[in-house]
């Protein structure tokens, strides 16, 4: 599976994602600068974490207008895989590729710690190696991970089983129904606040993030 890691000005998890795809998963991987518009040959695009455009205006609000985002939309429309992690998730909601929005954490703190993530749906391309209800130890690192959407959208998310991950136990950021990750209706675009790329090698304290990559590689 060929991976592309999008780099916005202010992305700071791009190298971690690249490292995991290239050196841990041993897949062909390349960086894609936000000014590029050619995603041909790729099977999966990762929008990494960070602070694209300094989080100015709103998280992800400016990145959404990067030239590469039009290409990402077409890429997603063609059924290929898109993963937005943390700031990447924020960019995907701003771009309308995923419903809802991520706003300020309930307690205002920037939270950076390992949490238990519950797999709410294992019938997705990103979780097929997991069991539904299984928990994964994966870190979060965000100030704006408080997912919200209106009642009609939440109903849709539930009806289509688009809620992929929830926080097990205590809700760290106040997100609606403890939502930590969702996918689009078609199931090929995933957005999640936790960082699987930071939990993909034993030296980092957890390899549970590998469950997501492994699911994807089964495709």
């Amino acid at each position: 599976m060929k991976f592309g890691v999008i780099v916005f000005p202010g992305s700071n998890c791009d190298q971690d994602c690249y490292h995991v795809a290239k050196n841990v998963l041993k897949q062909p991987t390349k960086y894609v600068w936000h000014q590029e518009t050619d995603l041909s040959g790729l099977d999966c695009v990762i929008l990494p974490g960070g602070f694209s455009y300094g989080d100015y205006l709103r998280t992800g609000a400016i990145a959404r207008f990067s030239p590469v985002m039009e290409a990402v939309k077409k890429f997603a429309d063609s059924g290929k895989y898109v993963i937005g992690i943390c700031n990447g998730f924020q960019v995907l909601t701003e771009a309308g590729l995923l419903p809802g929005a991520l706003h300020r954490n309930r307690d205002l703190h920037f939270i950076c710690r390992h949490i238990e993530l519950k797999v709410a749906n294992n019938k997705t391309a990103f979780t097929s190696a997991c069991k539904t209800g299984q928990t994964l130890n994966i870190p979060i690192a965000h100030g704006e991970g408080n997912y919200t959407c209106d009642a009609a959208t939440l109903k849709e998310l539930k009806k289509n089983k688009q809620i992929v991950f929830t926080y097990a136990g205590e809700n760290p950021n106040g997100s609606l129904q403890s939502i930590a990750g969702i996918c689009n209706k078609r199931g090929n675009v995933l957005g999640m606040m936790p960082h699987p790329e930071r939990a993909s090698e034993a030296a980092l304290g957890s390899v549970d993030g590998m469950m997501i990559w492994r699911s994807l590689l089964k495709r």
């Binding site: 205006l57 709103r58 609000a61 207008f65 909601t93 701003e94 809802g100 929005a101 706003h103 300020r104 954490n105 309930r106 307690d107 205002l108 408080n146 919200t148 959407c149 209106d150 106040g174």
Partner: protein
């Protein structure tokens, strides 16, 4: 030039953790009567004179405001 003032604020019903924190700080300072503190953004810009309302509204919807969590209004002063 026309001076445009755009006000963006959290939608009713959307949790505003900043507003809540500032409210409790005000209470700590003794301003116990302060309630429903909400924190938003104020954006100003200049545009050539003329009927700019439609364009400003478009700017709000396309970029300045995320309608999932925010409401807005604006004033155009000649």
């Amino acid at each position: 030039m026309a001076r445009v003032k755009v006000f963006v604020y959290p939608k009713k019903g959307v949790l505003d953790p900043q507003g809540k924190t500032v409210e409790s700080a005000l209470h700590t300072l003794g301003y116990k009567k302060a309630s429903n503190v909400r924190i938003g953004k104020y954006i100003e810009m200049e545009l050539p004179d003329g009927d700019n309302k439609k364009m400003v509204d478009e700017m709000c919807r396309k970029l300045l405001v995320n309608s999932v969590i925010e409401d807005y209004h604006f004033e155009v002063a000649a």
